[in-house]
């Protein structure tokens, strides 16, 4: 093919002049998401936290199958045994000879699961509530946000405890109770974001096309909330894990034979003088998880929040 023919073929493709100009300059346009992604990757604390958390998740899910011990197996030959390679109990055992490593990993499954599910519950309530309040505006908004203010002033931990006392302890209730009291922040943030979105042209266009209000919220508002919501999901997960551990620590959360990090820390604290490893390992896993999630959340906020962009 000759050069001329080549040129003509290019013309026929009808190239967007803007894009062509960008390629000519050797720069590629970056979407805000790519921008955020690059900012996030530069945040070393957030990236290492994310890697640690990924490893933690894999470990917690796959770990219990790979280790030779069952979580509820009591090894009477080695009760309160210190960590050692020879006995096969790498993290030691508790007072009735259960392997701490397996129990820590199994407890992690519950803790992380509670963190995820309860966060999803609060996410669903918060996003629905906040986007409706923000989009409808006016009196609806005022009443809805006033309700949030009122609930906000209540001592929410005490409510969760009250719920556990009243309805007995079961894991589903823990999910719902924690999620149901944790949606307030999400609702507030989503509402604020919706307020700034709802007057934009694309919403107006949708409205002009005759799309219903709930459909606009579902199809046009909610997808654009993704960034903010992501940040608060990462910050809610550790809060929820903390609440669940707190309850379990007090003996109001998950019950034997199930276990969570909070319950294990409680067990460990009982005989920490004779067997400190029963306290230290679950405490370490719990703390590392919370620490990492907080850093990831912080990193995401810095990356996605246009306010602090320099």
């Amino acid at each position: 093919m000759t050069k001329e023919a080549d040129l003509r073929a290019d013309d026929a493709l009808d190239i967007d002049p803007f894009e062509a100009a960008m390629e000519l300059g050797g720069t590629k346009g970056r979407s805000p998401w790519e921008d955020a992604w690059h900012r996030l990757l530069k945040n070393r604390a957030a990236v290492s936290s994310a890697i640690i958390m990924a490893a933690m998740v894999v470990l917690v899910i796959a770990g219990p199958w790979m280790i030779g011990w069952e979580g509820d197996f009591t090894d009477w030959d080695h009760t309160s045994a210190p960590p050692s390679i020879e006995t096969g109990h790498w993290f030691g055992t508790d007072a009735v000879g259960r392997d701490i490593l397996v129990r820590t990993l199994e407890g992690g499954r519950i803790s992380l699961l509670v963190g995820l599910v309860a966060t999803l519950v609060s996410l669903a309530i918060g996003v629905t509530y906040g986007s409706i309040a923000g989009f409808y505006g006016g009196r609806t908004d005022r009443v809805m946000m006033r309700i949030v203010d009122i609930i906000y002033a209540l001592p929410f931990m005490f409510f969760v405890i009250l719920l556990m006392v009243v309805f007995g302890r079961n894991i589903i209730l823990i999910f719902v109770a924690i999620g149901a009291v944790n949606w307030l922040d999400m609702a507030r943030i989503v509402r604020g974001q919706t307020l700034s979105l709802k007057n934009m042209e694309f919403v107006e266009a949708a409205r002009a096309c005759g799309v219903g209000r709930l459909d606009i919220i579902r199809r046009h508002i909610v997808p654009n909330l993704l960034g903010v919501v992501m940040v608060y999901v990462t910050l809610t997960i550790p809060q929820v894990i903390l609440v669940e551990s707190f309850l379990s620590f007090l003996g109001l959360g998950v019950q034997e034979p199930m276990s969570s990090w909070g319950a294990l820390v409680n067990d460990g604290a009982q005989d920490m003088e004779s067997a400190p490893w029963t306290l230290v390992f679950p405490a370490l896993f719990l703390s590392v998880t919370l620490y990492c999630f907080n850093y990831i959340g912080d990193g995401l906020r810095d990356a996605l929040d246009p306010k602090d962009r320099l």
């Binding site: 005490f158 009250l162 009243v166 409680n266 719990l286 703390s287 907080n294």
Partner: protein, 315 residues
């Protein structure tokens, strides 16, 4: 004068907002407990029906629900939380009177410690922004936020009581020695939050125009901080006092249990584990009212300190 008027009106408005919050709190707590499966007198051995009836009559459990509700509401207004179901000879008021001073002492000291240390650390970090000092303290602050109270407490006991033998591991006799560990444990996360808050707002304030002016007229840096930057930088900390108190109260539940302190929090947990409904309701309502009132006070304090707020503009 006009501005004072605005603040008064704002206070009145806020006070009007406090009442429905309190009402909601009491209502939710009351009905939650009433729909609970199982009564407080359910035991393994069924009581003879006459005794059951007498007990229910004594605690007014035989009345219609709505009547019970208004009775309870009337009681709360005069701050009477009724008898405890489990501690037979005690009223909830007596239990609160017994436990609350202890909790208040620990919580108050923790708050004081958190405020002083938190702001100092925050200011130091802000003044040395992006230095190793800054990164170090903020890393520690993140630790303080991330590691829960109930992990820190046993570890501190292990270190200072079991291994070093410096401090008692728990118990309560109003001595300073026994207060150190609980107060420090309770204060740590609050210190961390306040330090982060102070750092952030201080950095923001230091970049504002009035600080540039103060520097331009030749004030030494120390004076710039003390006379101009400090007050606006501490405003967010003031508004954090409300949530901080709520956090301290929640934390005290765990701390009192671990350090075996006979405060209100430990009564609450015991009540919760024993299904002592009146006690649990009483403590939730008591602490709820306390937090709502404190939020109100903090709000007023904030309005009074913040020159940017002019309440007469609001309608």
């Amino acid at each position: 004068m006009i501005q004072n008027h605005g603040i008064l009106r704002h206070a009145a408005q806020r006070l009007l907002g406090v009442i429905p919050t309190m009402l909601l709190l009491i209502t939710v707590v009351f009905f939650l407990v009433r729909v609970a499966p199982g009564g407080p007198f359910d035991s393994e051995k069924a009581l003879p029906p006459e005794i059951q009836a007498n007990l229910e009559a004594k605690y007014h459990l035989d009345e219609p629900l709505l009547q019970q509700y208004f009775r309870y509401l009337g009681q709360i207004i005069v701050l009477d939380f009724g008898p405890s179901f489990q501690y037979k000879d005690w009223t909830v008021n007596e239990l609160i009177a017994e436990g609350f001073p202890v909790s208040l002492t620990v919580g108050g000291l923790a708050m004081l410690l958190a405020f002083v240390v938190g702001t100092l650390v925050g200011i130091t970090a802000a003044l040395k922004q992006n230095s190793p000092v800054d990164y170090g303290t903020m890393g520690f602050a993140m630790l303080g936020i991330s590691i829960p109270n109930f992990v820190v407490a046993p570890l501190l006991i292990l270190l200072f009581a079991v291994y070093a033998g410096l401090l008692p591991a728990g118990g309560w006799d109003w001595s300073v020695k026994r207060m150190v560990l609980p107060v420090v444990t309770l204060a740590l996360p609050v210190i961390a939050y306040i330090a982060r808050l102070t750092r952030g707002s201080m950095i923001e304030v230091l970049h504002s125009n009035f600080i540039r002016t103060a520097r331009a007229k030749g004030l030494p840096e120390r004076e710039v901080i003390r006379r101009h930057a400090l007050k606006p930088a501490l405003l967010p900390v003031i508004s954090f006092m409300g949530p901080a108190t709520a956090g301290l109260i929640t934390g005290s539940v765990v701390i009192e249990r671990i350090y075996a302190i006979p405060g209100l929090g430990s009564y609450f947990v015991t009540g919760a584990l024993n299904r002592d409904y009146t006690l649990v309701m009483g403590v939730v309502v008591f602490y709820g009212l306390l937090i709502i009132l404190l939020n109100f006070v903090v709000d007023m304090l904030y309005a009074w300190l913040n020159p940017k707020i002019r309440y007469d503009e609001r309608s």
